[in-house]
């Protein structure tokens, strides 16, 4: 379980994140939705520990393992895609197990034909697929993903959604993910959270929010999804 308590972050004088209370249960898939600058990335980065909050606490209970995080602009290391996936594996693993894990990762994310290509030479969508394959190469308890399919095409999007859902199902992974795609949010989320100006303005099960949006932004989001 992840508990976010009174977390605040300022950019100079401006309050850019103000989360009073947020709890994510073990195995739950929470999707953060909100306009640009609403605080999705800031919240994820603070949860991942790559950015320090000015106040408040984040507690990861029931997990000895740290949370794994995929930033919006994941870096494709200039080695081959195959070796990019290898870097994420623990050093002590046997060579055969390593090869098996990498080959499975490549297959799951349709990267087999790109295995020898340099990670730095991939397109935006390919880089995201590779970054996700790299992250999901071993089981994880907690995943924090920042728009993991924002550059992917329709097929790439479907592939990422399917792989992500299977991974979470298989490993009982807790997922917190930011996206701008209503379709992706609804396909993945157990719970949707609407953020605006750094604060949670609405939260609930997707069906609940779809039928009864409480805020103007929520209504606009659902209209957009229906279109």
């Amino acid at each position: 379980m992840i508990t976010v308590n009174s977390v605040k972050k300022y950019a100079g004088e401006r309050l850019i994140l103000n989360i009073e209370q947020l709890t994510v249960n073990k195995g739950e898939k929470v999707v953060l939705i909100g306009p640009n600058g609403s605080g999705k990335t800031t919240l994820l980065r603070i949860m991942a520990g790559t950015l320090k909050a000015d106040s408040g606490t984040i507690v990861f209970a029931d997990s000895a393992e740290p949370a794994y995080y995929m930033p919006q602009t994941s870096f494709g290391f200039s080695m081959s895609v195959y070796k990019n996936l290898l870097t994420a594996l623990p050093k002590g693993l046997h060579k055969t197990d390593k090869r098996k894990a990498v080959e499975e990762g490549l297959k799951n994310f349709d990267l087999v034909s790109l295995a020898k290509k340099r990670g730095s030479k991939l397109s935006g969508g390919e880089t995201q697929r590779m970054a996700l394959a790299r992250l999901l190469i071993t089981p994880k308890s907690i995943l924090l993903l920042d728009e993991p399919a924002s550059n992917a095409d329709v097929e790439g999007n479907d592939l990422i959604e399917k792989a992500l859902l299977e991974f979470c199902e298989k490993n009982g992974t807790t997922l917190v993910m930011a996206t701008h795609s209503p379709r992706q949010a609804l396909n993945i989320a157990d719970r949707l959270i609407f953020l605006q100006d750094g604060a949670i303005i609405e939260s609930g099960a997707p069906e609940e929010l779809l039928n009864r949006p409480q805020t103007e932004w929520g209504q606009r989001f659902i209209e957009h999804w229906k279109v």
């Binding site: 790559t50 794994y68 995080y69 930033p71 870096f75 200039s78 290898l86 994420a88 050093k91």
Partner: protein, 229 residues
């Protein structure tokens, strides 16, 4: 073309004076560049990837040092190593080692400043990805260096270029002594002063050729074929 022919003639006639000058130049430049790489690049990488209170001030000092006039550095080293100076007992003045010390003081801040600037641009994305993957510290450092190997080789080359072309500081602390501390740049100055232009131009051509060979060799280090893991 005449100067080039003269240079080739000088090189292949195995002129003792010329080869002595080339030898001292290479010894001085390669040693000072290597020492500055060992100190300056790690310092720059550390500064570039770190965030701490007062970093802007440290960087400002570093960038100021990159603009230090060579003769001022030469003067400082001269005063330190002169007979009555604090390091006079080392008896290094008018030696190649004194020239190496002066060059290290000159190019280490340049390398550190450039390395910090290069790493500062690329480190946030690389480290955010690596931190998110929870990679061990050693792997993160390795990735940071390897992903920036091209720009870091360029930093080393810039230092080498500055060292081989330097004349003010080495003239002051080396004294331009024949068969001892005379290097290509100080020799060019001397030969020009004597009106011996052909020889001076030939030395210039040799200087440029050395710089070209080193740059050419370094381009292999920056090459795309370099792989790891």
């Amino acid at each position: 073309m005449e100067a080039f022919k003269e240079a080739m003639h000088l090189v292949f006639s195995f002129d003792k004076n010329l080869w002595q000058i080339i030898g001292v130049t290479l010894r001085m430049t390669l040693t000072s560049t290597s020492i500055s790489c060992i100190i300056g690049i790690p310092l720059g990488v550390l500064l570039g990837k770190s965030y701490f209170h007062g970093k802007a001030f440290v960087m400002r000092i570093l960038y100021t040092l990159t603009g230090m006039p060579p003769v001022v550095i030469g003067l400082i080293v001269f005063l330190l190593l002169s007979h009555q100076g604090p390091l006079g007992s080392w008896k290094l003045l008018f030696s190649v080692n004194a020239m190496i010390i002066a060059q290290c003081l000159l190019i280490t801040p340049i390398m550190a400043g450039l390395a910090a600037s290069v790493i500062g641009i690329n480190a946030p994305r690389i480290l955010e990805t690596a931190n998110g993957m929870r990679l061990p510290r050693r792997t993160k450092t390795k990735l940071l260096l390897l992903e920036n190997r091209g720009p870091l080789v360029t930093v080393a080359l810039t230092g080498f270029g500055r060292a081989i072309a330097e004349v003010g500081a080495v003239n002051l602390v080396g004294g331009n002594i024949q068969f001892k501390t005379r290097v290509l740049t100080t020799a060019i100055m001397l030969e020009t002063g004597k009106g011996n232009f052909d020889f001076a131009i030939a030395l210039g051509v040799i200087l440029l050729t050395i710089a070209f060979i080193v740059n050419f060799a370094a381009s292999f280090l920056k090459g795309e074929k370099y792989d790891y893991c």
